[in-house]
């Protein structure tokens, strides 16, 4: 029951509609008592030949009006209680979403997308069950159970009631026990199913290997074994699942046995009438649901509170990236100075430093090139600048202020970062380009696209700028995606533009067009280009060569060619590559 307390903020917030819903529920419980009683009365009047036209009309009018009343009130409580449950789900979902958007990259390392999605779907469902089914069962079990019992005792006979309800608590026990067992077995069945899922996934991904070794038959046999297992596990589920209705039947059967036996004796002794007896049998039937629901309630609460635990755990996570009080709101400008002594990713082991002694100054309006092998640490340098990680020895300053002293808006809104893994959203190309500001005009979007040399490609697509990207839409080539990402960053006309190996999938000629275009429009603005290809950085004022997390060579293009090092080797190799490409065409 603790879960109701923990959710009390919501119940308080929706006090009015919950009260209305529960009140309707209670009134329905009382109204429900009337039809069996009227049936009993009419039966008695008919049996004793006391019926008159006016009494018949009288009772039937009451019956019809309670029917109408029940209908309206039932509608009301359903809408109120189930509506509130949906509302709770929506509120917590929004909390989760907003929370996710405020989390740092450590959080997303710790929780995989699948886990987060599971919390946002299954656990929210568990919570909805508490706010809907839980409240309903609780209120319903109490109101229907109590009123029916009272009616049985006072309207019919207290001795008959006390004896007939003896087996009924078994209903609650049965539903609790069976529900629990079912849940466990269901989990096993789910596990078997997800194993089957993994099996299919693996085989389809490895289909070439299977075909190569000619093992289709064996793989099918293995699959059959897995489906057998699924069937076995589900068999266990059905053994329990099919028991619910029969168990109710059995327990109610005992109750009916007692009712017929004791009721018959009481009628023989003229203690109750036949009409009372008929009423009573109907009342007993009405107790089935509330008694059974009590058992179910425990299971709902158990699962709901486990769900809420998991959700609260997520909501308790904190980001390590925080804006300082009184942070600088003036947008970044001026010189960028990097003075990092050492940096390590939070979960990496302490000995292996990711970055070591990275020192450089990039004057306002200048261009810095960063080159090096894959995994040398180029991206890590840029991530620090983007404040994905704040914990390092050393300092990065922009225009004299530590970048951690700026507001996030002052810093990030003025950096145009083009990542390696150019992630596009499933939206139109236009919306992807003007991601940073959807209010910008088509001409602004086109200008950016032209600068990124992607405009012509887009126009050639069937729907032009309205073409959907992603699963539902066209599949763009890696180079096209990269260029759209560049357009997305160019659009905001950033003070600092960062290209993180974002020209790797475009050919040399296109690269040249894009870089010279950027140079033309970005006069006086600062640029960092990290690349594998030397031609991307050769015009930079300073180039640093990174290896193993530290700077191993630095200088201008010409200076670096003087040194017999990685840079020179790389440059020559790439020159040759170009020659072959040239021959190829």
């Amino acid at each position: 029951m603790g879960i109701f307390k923990r959710l009390s903020w919501f119940f308080k917030q929706e006090k009015k509609s919950y009260l209305l819903g529960i009140l309707s529920l209670v009134i329905v419980a009382i109204l429900q008592l009337i039809p069996p009683r009227i049936i009993g009365i009419v039966v008695d009047e008919i049996g004793m030949n006391e019926i008159t036209q006016s009494s018949l009309v009288y009772w039937l009018t009451i019956l019809a009006s309670t029917a109408l009343g029940q209908y309206l009130l039932r509608y009301l409580w359903r809408v109120k209680i189930w509506g509130n449950a949906a509302k709770l789900e929506a509120i917590v979902r929004e909390q989760l979403y907003n929370h996710f958007t405020n989390m740092d990259s450590n959080f997303f390392q710790k929780y995989r997308t699948g886990d987060l999605m599971a919390h946002a779907t299954n656990d929210l469902r568990g919570l909805r069950m508490v706010a809907g089914g839980g409240i309903l069962t609780l209120a319903d079990a109490i109101s229907v159970g109590l009123t029916t019992l009272v009616a049985m005792i006072f309207v019919v006979d207290w001795r008959l009631t006390l004896i007939a309800v003896i087996p009924l608590p078994l209903l609650a026990i049965a539903s609790r026990v069976l529900g629990k067992k079912l849940h466990l077995r269901f989990r096993d069945a789910q596990a078997a199913f997800s194993q089957l899922n993994d099996k299919v996934q693996e085989s389809i991904q490895g289909i070439k290997v299977i075909k190569t070794f000619g093992q289709e038959k064996e793989d099918i046999e293995d699959f059959d074994v897995q489906t057998d297992r699924v069937v076995e596990k589900n068999k266990d589920v059905y053994k329990i699942d099919s028991l619910f209705d029969p168990a109710i039947t059995f327990i109610m059967g005992m109750s009916y046995f007692l009712t017929i036996f004791i009721g018959g004796l009481l009628i023989m002794g003229n203690e109750i009438t036949i009409g009372d007896f008929v009423t009573f049998i109907n009342y007993i039937g009405m107790l089935v649901w509330p008694m059974f629901a009590i058992g179910r309630l425990f299971n709902i609460i158990e699962r709901g509170s486990a769900s809420y635990d998991r959700i609260e755990n997520l909501l308790r996570e904190e980001t390590s990236i925080i804006e300082r009080q009184g942070a600088v709101e003036k947008p970044i400008s001026g010189n960028l100075t990097f003075a990092i002594d050492s940096f390590n990713y939070p979960d990496a082991d302490a000995d292996a430093e990711t970055l070591k002694d990275i020192h450089f100054t990039l004057p306002a309006g200048g261009t810095l090139g960063i080159v090096g092998r894959t995994g040398a640490g180029k991206t890590s340098i840029l991530k620090l600048l983007l404040r994905e990680h704040d914990h390092y020895k050393g300092q990065i300053t922009y225009g004299g202020y530590d970048i951690r002293d700026y507001t996030l808006d002052a810093l990030l809104k003025h950096i145009g970062y083009v990542p390696q893994d150019n992630y596009l959203f499933s939206n139109t190309i236009r919306e992807n380009i003007r991601f940073a500001d959807p209010t910008l005009s088509q001409s602004a979007v086109e200008a950016a696209a032209k600068l990124a040399n992607i405009h012509d490609d887009i126009v050639d697509l069937p729907n032009g700028y309205d073409t959907e990207v992603g699963e539902r839409g066209v599949s763009l080539s890696g180079g096209q995606k990269q260029r759209i990402s560049i357009a997305r960053a160019v659009l905001i006309n950033p003070e600092l533009m960062i290209l993180d190996d974002s020209l790797s999938a475009v050919d040399a000629k296109t690269e040249e067009i894009i870089l010279s275009g950027l140079k033309r429009v970005r006069q006086g603005q600062t640029t960092i280009i990290a690349a594998h290809r030397i031609s991307s950085v050769m015009h930079a004022e300073e180039i640093i060569v990174v290896d193993d997390g530290t700077i191993v060579e630095r200088g201008t293009h010409d200076q670096l060619l003087e040194v017999d090092g990685w840079y020179k080797d790389m440059y020559q190799q790439q020159q040759l590559e170009r020659k072959i490409e040239g021959e190829d065409q």
Binding site: E45, I46, G47, L56, L60, L63, A64, A67, Q70, Y71, R74, V79, W82, A86, E89, A90, R93, Y97, N98, T101, N102, L116, A120, T121, F193, L196, D198, Q201, I204, Q205, V209, I210, K211, T212, F213, G214, Q215, E218, D219, I220, S242, G253, F257, I260, G264, L265, M268, F277, V278, T374, L386, P419, Y423, S426, F435, P438, R472, D569, L576, D584
Partner: protein, 596 residues
């Protein structure tokens, strides 16, 4: 995708739905008997439901009303009622259990059939179909069949319940039953009304939920971009709107269900009771009426109305089931089969001579990716394929492995058409080493044996020793029984490569096809791999795609491919002398090697 699927759902015309239904139902035919027995129990259940009120009615009318009841009679009726209840309990259990098991087995049957079908399809299908799509068909869509089958159970139970309770009422009083039948048209109108409104709203709710969830997943995946562009606030606002619109449509589903599901059925039931009491009461004004019959009628009316709620509720599941069925059948109807072989079970590969004669091939029937390719590899010789991405190297392997059928020319093995060998023989005699070694979940042993039970543990160890994979395997915890997690994530790419070498070599193929890895392999295993390749090639006909030209310097013949044609051919020395594309490529790599 989701939008498209939704459109599918709406646009399946009734006639097609029936065809789909008929076809998917045919998968249940092996379990017909079990379904029939279950339905038999359904019938028995409906009968016991009808008997129970009758017992009480007779008890009231014949004994209580007449005052002839004795202790013995009271006990007798209590026991009869309890006895029938026990029967009802057993019957009910059997019905549910048997029906559930029969539908479970049907789902298994469909699944196995679907999986077998998938394996009969050629690489063409797998290359152009997204993995996720195939997986969903095999798992989720077949799983949805269970709900679908349950709809049938609900339907059967409902129809039987309604029919038997009507029959029981007829037996008691024909006139009153006819009056109650007046409710039937009202019910039909409500069902129709519900179907129209609810399916629209329900589909809308489902599509909004999937929109909501894909938005959420997309945000999580694209979080870095969102945060870099400081778009958190805007996306929060957008999500709030989507969330709100999902809530709204959920709320309208709640309203429709509250308006048209059990509350209204309950209302109609009570009105039916009013009608029953009115009719019997009116009669009673003039002549006596048996009161037990009134009780029985109110019970039957309850049985008559009760199944309708569940029936209406499961209409949406029915729709979902039809959609899933049609998707399953799409796979079943696919005809992109594995290229056909002629039926000569006795053909065997003895020498391992490979010859391509004027082979042309295209993936799409339009653009040829191989044009008049001719070459010959004598037993034990090595031919190397060299060229840029898209030059046609992999297509030659696709043709040689019979992953795809070629269009023109001939591929000969030992002088006979490749089509004349049984696929099993081809697979046994040709070993393909893929560039990305794919490991399966299991143990090292499993990955070398790959489900071929005739390979002994000793052969596995020998194969591993041959390719020098033994040194790292023996250092593992559990050695050859060491666990391999999904896709071999805990091994380096070099180690994975060595394991896949072992699995190829343990089968002792006559013809070896190598697709060398382009990716950087860790330097530790690099030399082992090179040596392994050399050893494997010894005495085997080899067709190798080489990215590292140094590894194939000793090849008997090197074919340089460009845009589907062989542009240069010869030994290494001949090609270097010629000073063409090969020479440039070779020099480039030498440079790269020097600095590494």
């Amino acid at each position: 995708m989701e939008q498209q699927e939704l459109k599918d759902r709406r646009s399946i015309p009734f006639k097609e739905q029936m065809t789909i239904l008929k076809r998917i139902l045919s998968y249940a035919s092996p379990f017909k008997k079990q379904f029939m027995v279950a339905i038999g129990f359904s019938l028995a259940l409906a009968v016991t439901n009808a008997i129970l009120p009758r017992i009480i009615q007779v008890f009231i009318d014949d004994h209580l009303a007449t005052g002839t009841a004795t202790l013995r009679i009271v006990l007798l009726f209590a026991f009869i009622h309890f006895g029938v209840t026990l029967v009802r309990m057993v019957v009910w259990y059997c019905e549910l259990y048997l029906f559930n098991m029969a539908s479970e087995k049907t789902v298994q049957h469909i699944r196995n059939a679907l999986y077998t079908k998938l394996h009969s399809l050629g690489m063409r299908f797998f290359d152009k179909t997204a993995t996720g799509w195939i997986i969903t068909r095999a798992t989720n869509d077949t799983e949805a069949m269970k709900d679908f089958w349950h709809v049938f159970l609900t339907l059967i139970q409902g129809v039987l319940g309604v029919a038997i309770s009507l029959g029981a009422m007829f037996l008691l009083d024909v006139r009153v039953t006819l009056w109650i039948l007046l409710f039937a048209p009202i019910l039909l109108v409500i069902v129709r009304f519900y179907q129209v409104y609810s399916s629209k709203n329900y589909n809308e709710m489902k599509s909004k939920l999937s929109m909501l969830n894909s938005k959420l997943a997309e945000t999580i995946n694209g979080m870095a971009v969102i945060q870099q562009f400081r778009q958190e606030k805007r996306l929060q606002k957008e999500f709030k709107e989507t969330n709100q619109s999902y809530y709204d449509s959920r709320f309208s589903v709640v309203k429709i269900n509250a308006l048209l599901l059990s509350p209204v059925i309950n209302f109609l039931y009570t009105l039916a009771v009013v009608l029953i009491l009115a009719l019997f009461g009116y009669d009673a004004l003039s002549s006596p009426v048996e009161v037990g019959v009134i009780f029985a009628f109110t019970s039957y009316a309850n049985d008559f109305f009760r199944p309708l709620t569940r029936l209406m509720d499961s209409l949406s599941l029915f729709q979902d089931g039809v959609v899933s069925s049609s998707r399953i059948l799409t796979v079943m109807d696919n005809e992109e089969y594995v290229p056909a072989q002629e039926d000569n079970p006795d053909s065997v590969i003895t020498e391992g001579k490979v010859e391509f004669k004027d082979v042309s091939f295209s993936y799409d029937g339009e653009n040829e990716v191989l044009k008049n390719i001719s070459f010959k590899v004598n037993p034990g010789e090595t031919v190397a394929l060299v060229g840029h991405t898209g030059s046609g190297k992999s297509s030659i392997i696709n043709v040689l492995m019979r992953f795809y059928d070629f269009d023109k020319g001939e591929v000969l093995i030992d002088g006979k058409s490749i089509k004349s060998f049984p696929i099993r023989e081809l697979r046994q005699r040709t070993g393909l080493v893929l560039q990305d070694s794919f490991l399966f979940y299991g143990t090292i042993k499993d990955n070398i044996r790959l489900m071929n039970p005739s390979i002994t543990d000793r052969e596995i160890v020998e194969a591993a020793r041959f390719v020098q994979a033994d040194s790292f395997i023996e250092q593992l915890d559990g050695q050859y029984d060491a666990k391999v997690v999904e896709r071999g994530a805990s091994f380096s790419s070099g180690q994975k490569q060595l394991i896949s070498f072992a699995s190829t070599i343990v089968r002792d193929p006559k013809i070896l096809i190598l697709d060398e890895a382009t990716a950087n392999i860790d330097t530790e295993t690099e030399s082992l791999i090179q040596e392994g390749l050399q050893r494997m090639r010894k005495g085997r006909t080899t067709v190798a795609i080489a990215h590292r030209l140094s590894t194939i310097r000793d090849a008997d013949q090197i074919l340089v491919l460009d845009k589907g044609r062989i542009v240069e051919r010869g030994t290494h020395d001949e090609l270097i002398e010629r000073g063409g594309l090969y020479k440039d490529m070779y020099e480039l790599q030498n440079l790269g090697l020097q600095q590494a």
